[in-house]
Symmetry: C2
Subunit: 367 residues, 2 copies
């Protein structure tokens, strides 16, 4: 989503901070993912941006939803999704969520531990399950691997146990890490999945489904691989190495919404400290830009013209953790100047709290 | 606040996660701070726990409030505080907050930059201002220093500029860092303040007030200095080194509420991963325990008996950042077991978001 004169004109009139979400761009990103991964079922990971209008827009296009909690399930159902249009990729779920999702008709749950097999067998008997395998997360700017996942041997063991417990072992799921900028990561991960399929077959398990997880990146300040190139390579690998009737799904979050919003924020202070320039704005890590603490580097544009120079960009709260960037490049901005954080549609609203009384940005929707 | 049989009995009946807040303990902590720092005006830093009942309880005892934003100002006013019972320690404020606070009668704003002098001169003409000086934060478990503060020379320059701009230079403020466990940090900081007072006097500025900031620690898993010992040392230093009619204030947040609550959480998953035991609970860093990411180590008690062994304790969200501790000590807990996070009253509700659909703990108040 570009900072066009029209957007700029709108942004100037808004109370700061605000998040301008372009639902048209959400639609375009969905179509782009569909084109890049033909025949693959798309489930939007609602955690990326749980705004109901985003969910509703995607639902109208036939998109499914990936949910991890009762609140996310209710969001997907409210958007009009039926149970079969919803999956859960969280390998460790609350028992309450499992039974509610099962009752709503959700089919397809990830798991990666014997305790989860037992939980699903009890609360979602007969449901399809996917073993979450550990894959290389080194290409990701927000790696996820250590917390979840098992190796191929254990994955097959879990799927066999799941079968014995009355569940339906469907296949494998993985996550290359959020904002993954290494295209080869998907192929490496598919290699791990292929090993699981082969081992499962040796155990008499007929796996039919593969979930590609999320991780498709959006543009910030570093180069990212082309979506179509990732898609072609994945599709070619699937054709060559897996059964032709494989059911394939994907759970993009960031890729559907990241580029569909611009965050409008305002300079509330400037200071020189120990030969560093500090710029303080009204949208910080706690009310909008949490991912900055994990290494996501946003492109930030000032309305004021002039040569850009390094500065520390900090949020409004009294907390020293509330620093967006230690080396932002901004002109000589003043209190009251507007700044625009581009491609800020993912993981901004979702992580936002009202710490120190600074609330999340107000959402402004463009149709 | 101890996990007594009565509390345990109550906790068992609650929906998890829940935060049991003992308002009686808030009162006792307030009285303890008053005793440790006799004659010092206490302003509760509401960001530590913005629950209205906490603010109301402290107000009844005559406590003032330290606020940084419009929402915090409104909270303090709703609790019954008048403007003179409110100060603002945030050195970089939004212009909107400044004018609203000034209109509400708030007297006393921190500053540490020429831009803030200009902002306060415009929006809060005549008000008392405090220069925020940089002090050693090495004793703190959540250091704050780099983002704010100036040295003594610049502090005096700012106070002189403030006077010239129609403001009232009152004195100096500092922050030793949140959860400061080094008692000497306050005395070192007072040494910096004393230098500002002396230099200011040389510039014809008659400083009358000193704000001790916050940072008073609460009990977690590491030793902390005794509140009374810190208080006596501070009071002795003030008597010896400052004018006898000095107006002294303090802005405790954590110290008033940290020990006044217990977080009730429930095990939702267990797993063995690469020879590590992982325990997953329904209160994680995004909906309750954000400070765990910054190094605060909570004391966590399981209801289940048995020998305790190391584990990684993780929150419910799909995010790998959502890890509370890499080396918690817990017995062989199972899904459904209750865990109790002690002294969890500060910076739990305030940082909480509903990321991934996992909302903040429900608050249960004990009178």
């Amino acid at each position: 989503m570009d900072l066009t004169p029209t957007i700029l004109d709108l942004a100037r009139k808004l109370t700061s901070p605000a998040l301008i979400v372009d639902l048209g761009e959400v639609r375009r990103r969905y179509e782009a993912v569909r084109r890049a991964l033909p025949g693959v079922a798309v489930y939007y990971a609602v955690k990326a941006n749980p705004h109901p209008a985003v969910a509703g827009t995607l639902r109208e296009l036939g998109c499914g939803f990936e949910v991890s909690s009762v609140a996310e399930l209710e969001l997907a159902l409210a958007a009009g999704a039926g149970g079969p249009g919803i999956i859960s990729g969280n390998p460790v779920k609350t028992p309450d969520f499992v039974s509610r999702a099962h009752a709503a008709g959700v089919r397809g749950f990830a798991l990666d531990s014997p305790a989860e097999v037992a939980k699903l067998a009890k609360g979602a008997s007969g449901t399809e399950v996917y073993a979450r395998v550990t894959v290389d997360n080194s290409g990701s700017e927000w790696p996820l691997s250590r917390k979840y996942g098992v190796g191929p041997v254990e994955a097959v063991e879990l799927l066999a146990n799941a079968r014995d417990a009355g569940l339906t072992p469907a296949g494998v799921t993985f996550h290359v890490g959020s904002q993954c900028v290494r295209a080869e990561s998907w192929l490496d991960a598919l290699g791990v999945c292929r090993e699981v399929f082969e081992r499962a077959s040796g155990r008499g398990l007929d796996l039919t489904a593969l979930n590609l997880g999320g991780g498709l990146p959006v543009r910030h300040t570093r180069p990212i691989p082309d979506l179509d190139a990732v898609g072609s390579a994945v599709m070619a690998y699937l054709r060559e190495q897996f059964r032709p009737d494989l059911r394939v799904s994907v759970e993009p979050g960031r890729a559907l919404v990241g580029e569909a919003a611009i965050l409008v924020t305002t300079v509330i202070g400037v200071a020189e400290r120990a030969s560093e320039r500090w710029v303080y704005v009204d949208a910080g890590v706690f009310n909008a830009l949490m991912e900055a603490t994990g290494g996501i580097r946003y492109e930030i544009v000032a309305e004021r013209p002039g040569a850009r120079a390094p500065c520390v960009l900090a949020g409004p709260s009294c907390d020293s953790v509330d620093v967006i960037s230690s080396d932002a490049l901004l002109p000589d901005v003043r209190v009251g100047d507007r700044l625009y954080v581009l491609n800020a549609g993912a993981y901004t609203l979702s992580y936002a709290s009202s710490f120190n009384g600074f609330g999340p940005p107000e959402v402004v929707l463009l149709p």
